[in-house]
């Protein structure tokens, strides 16, 4: 076949190089998504590790906490004494590290 005119050949050449570029960009985008997931998991784990080092006391809080007046008789069961399952499932009092 004779050589294509520059205008027509240019379209094919551009298509070939754009395909290559698109493949690379798609790959980099997929890798970026993976790295974002890893970063999110690391943040989560760092939060867990920090909470482990400084555990939050899960027993009865000090008087006055949550607006409870210790001088007044309580009208219902103290939510802080209820089993974790009753207030949000097992381990609910310590679940959920804050996101940075």
């Amino acid at each position: 076949m004779p050589a294509l005119p520059l205008g027509e050949a240019g379209r094919y050449v551009a298509a070939a190089y754009i395909v290559f570029l698109v493949l690379i960009v798609v790959y980099v985008a997929i890798m970026a998504a993976k790295l974002q997931r890893i970063e999110r998991e690391l943040r989560e784990l760092a939060g867990f590790a920090e909470t482990r080092q400084n555990p939050v006391p899960t027993g009865r809080p000090a008087a006055g906490v949550r607006g409870v007046d210790p001088t007044q008789p309580q009208t219902g069961p103290d939510p802080n004494l209820a089993p974790p399952e009753a207030v949000g499932g097992p381990g609910a009092t310590t679940r959920g590290a804050p996101d940075v």
Binding site: M1, A3, L4, L6, E8, A9, G10, Y12, V13, A15, A16, Y17, V19, F20, L23, I24, Y27, M31, K34, L35, I38, E41, L42, L45, F48, A49, T51, R52, P55, T58, P90, G91, T94, R95, A97
Partner: protein, 242 residues
């Protein structure tokens, strides 16, 4: 513990610089081909991609041999990533080749041409690597069987290449058939820079993928360690999914 991220920034910079230089040479330095004209510019992308992809498959096979000899899982990871990036490059080879074929021969694909069909066979062979690998649940067996596959398929690649070179070509040119590739110096220089750029890109992507896999593996190990029963409380880490 191996740090795959070491030197990644330098490597990435070198790759971008070489790729830019290669593109400048292709479009501003290399002369137009007397026979094909401007469409021949695809040669500088298509051929280095094909050469790198095929070499990557062979490298994957060699790394798989290292895994089978030593039993170390990292060699299997290297082999897997080499094949993975080579498959991506092969997709680019097939697409750019089809575009070039349409422009040069008037057809997207010529089934009678052994070069095209043999490359497609190699690509399809490696496309089966993923389902084959992930059909096996036990990690040890998965790595071992995948290595055997990589070695067998890796040995097939040069044999296939030789067989194709020995057959008469229908329409596909036999590139680099002479000592200097049958190219004038300016074209040869451009081609070599393009080849260097694509090889650098392959190495960078392999390193990038290995770094991501290593980071992901370390996060999983950390998650497992943190998930172990704490001395003063229940587990607070969600179980892994999948």
């Amino acid at each position: 513990m191996t740090s795959f991220g070491f030197g990644l920034k330098t490597l990435s910079t070198a790759t971008v610089v070489t790729l830019t230089a290669a593109l400048c040479l292709v479009f501003f330095y290399a002369p137009l081909d007397a026979n094909q004209g401007f469409i021949q510019k695809i040669f500088y992308l298509h051929v280095p991609l094909a050469m790198t992809a095929l070499t990557g498959y062979i490298v994957g096979g060699l790394l798989a041999i290292a895994h089978l000899r030593t039993g170390e899982r990292r060699w299997d990871a290297y082999s897997y990533v080499s094949i993975h990036i080579s498959v991506i490059f092969s997709v680019a080879v097939l697409i750019t080749g089809s575009i070039w074929a349409k422009a040069s021969w008037g057809h997207w694909w010529v089934w009678e041409e052994p070069t095209l069909v043999s490359f497609l066979i190699v690509f399809l062979l490696y496309a089966t690597y993923y389902p084959f690998r992930y059909a096996i649940e036990d990690p040890e067996r998965q790595a071992r069987y995948a290595s055997v596959f990589a070695v067998t398929a890796g040995a097939f690649v040069p044999l296939n290449f030789l067989a194709v070179r020995l057959t008469p070509s229908l329409v596909h040119p036999r590139v680099l058939a002479t000592a200097n590739g049958g190219l004038p110096n300016s074209m040869l220089l451009t081609f070599l820079v393009c080849l260097a750029a694509i090889v650098l890109l392959w190495i960078t992507l392999v390193k990038f993928e290995l770094t991501a896999k290593s980071a992901s593996g370390q996060v999983k190990r950390l998650r497992r360690a943190l998930d172990a029963p704490a001395p003063n409380g229940p587990s607070r880490v969600a179980p892994e999914v999948g």
